[in-house]
């Protein structure tokens, strides 16, 4: 085994060690606090958010910071453990039919709302119908497509009452699916499937999300939301697992500037920060040591190629040449300071899913470059007759720009290709991509749920996310086949085949996998970095400590 192959294997093993199987256990991680551990007298946690949650309505939110708040305020049928695994939430257990199409969830009798009233299966029925009802105007309505008639209701072709969700009794919920969805428990943790109390929303309308009106069912309840500044949550005494929730209060500070988040941490004002710039990593490591935590994230940054017109149309050799000429290790180490992991395939490492790393990834850099040059010549280009193209990227983030500049330099040095960087405002970039204007473009994705399809849809025919115009009937067929499989292993096998095909065709140029980057005080316990980067305050607690 070559050194490089060994590295890949080590990387994958490391990754898998960081993640766990999705199947549920009921243990509450906070319950495992050792006897004799001295907790701090004041259990108030201050943490940060990247941007202001625009509104606190579980059906309507689409942004990441809002999801963090929802993770603390509400709880779905399932929820996440500290390590990111899916664990039972409001539902203590569930039964799945043999065809994988009918799921029956049994709700905990202790589940309550923050006013002490009982939570029932009807609260889920109401919430799901509300999310998918076109009148609600939820941007994520189509995420309910796996549920029977979800798509038809969202399109207004059927009434919300047709949605495949039924309260069999107050504590039993039946969910019928349109197709087998082995990753359903993971979907159920998302805000748009969390329960809502109908009477409150009917009474207060849009104002129900204000602190004085909101009812929530999670470990915390809303105390105050100062838009653009901070969101404060208090412990919900009626939460079914309240005995194991140690924090009395959580304050989320909104800080768009990531360096500012690190400054707040250094000044001792916050104990946990959501992220910091990769450029600050060496400085923070030197200063804070083990308080700096980085780990893989379920997201890929890469380059899309417009295959609807020259030079990339029907030109696999050219696409392969560009793909092979990118030195991912170099970018990971020198542009990202190690926070970011070399990506050779679209789907980031995922527990139980075999990574589809192409064979050439185990070659030495020199051998890859030789191969790249061969492909480049085969495509009809040479230093005298170079390929010319434009790479459209978003101007928002300096590290991303630096990455693309490095890639362009690699293409120029290895192949002699002349690619120019075209920086655009993000809104303009997404419009241009959709209109298929750029030859090459920034094509990054963060998985919506833990399943390869969330990434593979980027190259599926007819997908709104397929900005490359890529269309491969064999690839589509394999995904369709996978979508019919009730067993996860079979689903993953078919999806792996589809991804393998995409790699062979060089339909996407992956560059790196994103990382989660936190700063956490040594006395903050009960959290772990995880692949979905959702760290529920429910499990966190503060040990007795001196100073900040």
């Amino acid at each position: 085994m070559g050194r490089r192959a060994f590295l890949h294997l080590a990387l994958v093993v490391m990754w898998l060690a960081g993640c766990h199987a999705q199947h549920a256990t009921t243990a509450s991680p906070a319950a495992s606090i050792r006897v004799g551990t001295q907790l701090a007298a004041e259990q108030i946690l201050s943490r940060t958010l990247d941007s202001a949650p625009p509104l606190l309505d579980p059906s309507l939110i689409t942004d990441v910071p809002s999801q963090f708040i929802m993770d603390d305020l509400f709880e779905g049928l399932t929820t996440l453990a500290a390590d990111g695994r899916v664990v039972p939430g409001v539902a203590s257990r569930w039964d799945v039919s043999a065809d994988g199409l009918t799921w029956v969830f049994h709700l905990r009798p202790q589940a309550r709302w923050s006013d002490g009233s009982a939570l029932t299966a009807d609260d889920f029925v109401y919430a799901w119908r509300r999310t998918v009802d076109p009148a609600t105007r939820a941007e994520d309505a189509q995420q309910l497509a796996p549920i029977l008639y979800g798509l038809e209701v969202a399109k207004g072709e059927r009434p919300p009452s047709d949605l495949g969700v039924t309260a069999l009794d107050a504590r039993t919920l039946r969910v019928q699916l349109a197709a087998p969805t082995p990753y359903l428990p993971q979907l159920l943790t998302n805000s748009y499937l969390q329960p809502l109390r109908e009477s409150v929303i009917r009474r207060y309308g849009d104002d129900w999300t204000r602190a004085e009106h909101m009812l929530s069912n999670g470990p915390f309840m809303l105390r105050e939301n100062v838009i653009g500044s901070r969101v404060t949550l208090d412990k919900n005494p009626y939460y079914w697992d309240a005995a194991n929730v140690k924090l009395q209060r959580v304050i989320y500070y909104v800080l768009e500037d990531r360096s500012t988040q690190a400054q707040r941490f250094l000044a001792g004002q916050v104990q946990f920060i959501q992220t910091f710039p990769t450029t600050d990593l060496p400085y923070l490591r030197a200063r804070l040591g083990a308080q700096v935590v980085t780990a893989p994230y379920f997201g890929t940054l890469g380059i899309g190629l417009n295959v609807l017109r020259p030079p990339f149309k029907d030109n696999r050799a050219l696409r392969m040449a560009l793909n092979l000429a990118v030195d991912r290790e170099m970018i990971s180490q020198h542009v990202l300071n190690g926070a970011g992991f070399p990506a050779y395939t679209l789907v980031p490492p995922l527990p139980e899913y075999a990574p589809q790393i192409p064979d050439w990834a185990s070659l030495s850099v020199a051998a890859r470059h030789d191969l790249a040059q061969r492909y480049y010549r085969e495509a009809g280009y040479s230093p005298a007759h170079p390929m010319r193209a434009e790479l459209s990227v978003s101007s928002g983030d300096s590290v991303t720009t630096l990455t693309y500049e490095a890639v362009i330099a690699m293409w120029r040095e290895t192949l002699g290709a002349q690619v120019s960087l075209h920086q655009l405002e993000f809104k303009i970039l997404i419009q241009d991509r959709r209109l298929r204007k750029p030859d090459l473009f920034h094509d990054a994705w963060i998985g919506d749920y833990l399943d390869p399809v969330t990434f593979l849809q980027l190259r599926q025919s007819g997908s709104g996310l397929n900005n490359a115009g890529y269309s491969n009937p064999a690839f589509d067929a394999m995904i369709d086949l996978a979508n019919q499989q009730a067993r996860l292993s079979e689903r993953y096998r078919d999806l792996g085949d589809a991804e393998h095909l995409l790699n062979d065709d060089a339909g996407y140029i992956p560059v790196y996998y994103y990382s989660v980057r936190h700063l956490a005080k040594p006395y903050l316990k009960g959290w772990e970095p995880n692949i979905v980067d959702r760290n529920l305050s429910r499990y966190m607690y503060l040990l007795e400590h001196e100073g900040n």
Binding site: S51, A52, P54, L55, D57, L60, T62, P134, A135, R137, A138, E139, A141, Q142, A154, K155, G156, D206, D207, T209, V226, I227, G228, S229, R230, Y253, V254, L255, E256, D257, S259, T260, Q263, R264, L266, A267, G268, Q269, E425, F426, K427, I428, I430, Q431, S463, G464, L465
Partner: protein, 306 residues
């Protein structure tokens, strides 16, 4: 004077209308809309959201609709913060900007004014050269450098003051100081020049010849005319300090409206950006009026002719 003020206030209306029209045209000319996102939305839902905000109507109708609401003081719903109105966002954020901007201007006036007068009185001394060199530095170093340095020293190093957030007086000091820095320097230079000029004028010479003590000359005779150039600087400066605090807001995480302005523009939050633009426009017009009124109060040569 009342007539003059009324006249100026009425004159501000067409100016504001022009500002609103230009802002509307420019915002809608920018590619991409408020509900365009990387994710795909069902076309049915997208259409429904757009019709909720009347984005499906012809532009001229949207424009008239906006002006109609504006005439009633309604700045519309924010697109980005879907359940909050622009009026609410401004009502919540603007006091923060006023507090930070006002304090910064106060610091700049007191410190800058004192330095300027002191330098003028110690002309050609090492004091003057040193202070003016500092002032040039103050003008040239940008706020995005000063603000983190202040945090590094006073919040992270010495733990004297909080590194940000909003609450009591202690939260106000660092942002106000950071914002005051360039203005202090500018005012110091302005004050020094004006004081020197006044000190060289004949009426001061007369006062000196009469044997008045320096204190009396400065406070009773020199200060008032020396303030005139400062007043004309102060109008735009005050507007600048209130509207230009975006960097300070971001660095200190203050809930002011400057941050809404930038994120609003990037997210194509039309109503939010329009609302803030109009507010800023009105603020500048108002402060200019105030400067003119102050001028008249301080300078006997200025009279309200119209």
């Amino acid at each position: 004077m009342l007539r003059y003020t009324l006249h100026r206030l009425l004159g501000a209306i067409p100016t504001l209308l022009l500002i609103a029209t230009l802002a509307f045209a420019l915002l809608h000319a920018a590619p991409g809309g408020p509900f365009d996102s990387e994710k795909v939305m069902l076309p049915e839902i997208q259409k429904s959201i757009e019709s909720q905000y009347h984005l499906d109507e012809p532009l001229w109708r949207q424009y008239l609709r906006y002006l109609g609401a504006l005439a009633h003081g309604n700045l519309g719903p924010s697109f980005q913060y879907r359940s909050t109105s622009v009026n609410e966002l401004i009502a919540q954020g603007f006091p923060v900007d006023l507090a930070v901007g006002g304090s910064a201007m106060l610091i700049a006036l007191v410190v800058g004014g004192a330095i300027g007068v002191f330098a003028a009185l110690h002309r050609n001394s090492w004091w003057e050269h040193g202070l003016m060199a500092l002032a040039v530095m103050g003008i040239s170093v940008p706020v995005f450098v000063i603000a983190p340095v202040l945090i590094l020293v006073f919040a992270i190093g010495l733990h004297w003051l909080p590194p940000g957030d909003w609450g009591g007086i202690s939260h106000l000091i660092l942002p106000a100081a950071a914002l005051a820095f360039p203005y202090t320097a500018y005012i110091a230079r302005l004050m020094r020049g004006a004081t020197l000029e006044v000190l060289g004028s004949r009426f001061i010479l007369t006062a000196r010849a009469k044997g008045l003590p320096l204190r009396t000359i400065m406070l009773r005779h020199a200060l008032k005319p020396a303030l005139l150039p400062l007043i004309s600087f102060l109008g735009p400066a005050l507007a600048g300090v209130i509207t230009g605090s975006i960097v300070v807001e971001t660095t200190f995480g203050l809930p002011g409206i400057g941050r809404y302005f930038t994120t609003g523009a990037l997210n194509r939050d039309y109503t939010l950006v329009m609302g803030i633009t109009i507010l800023y426009g009105a603020l500048i017009l108002f402060l200019n009026l105030l400067v003119d009124l102050c001028y008249a109060a301080l300078d006997p040569r200025v009279r309200f002719e119209r």
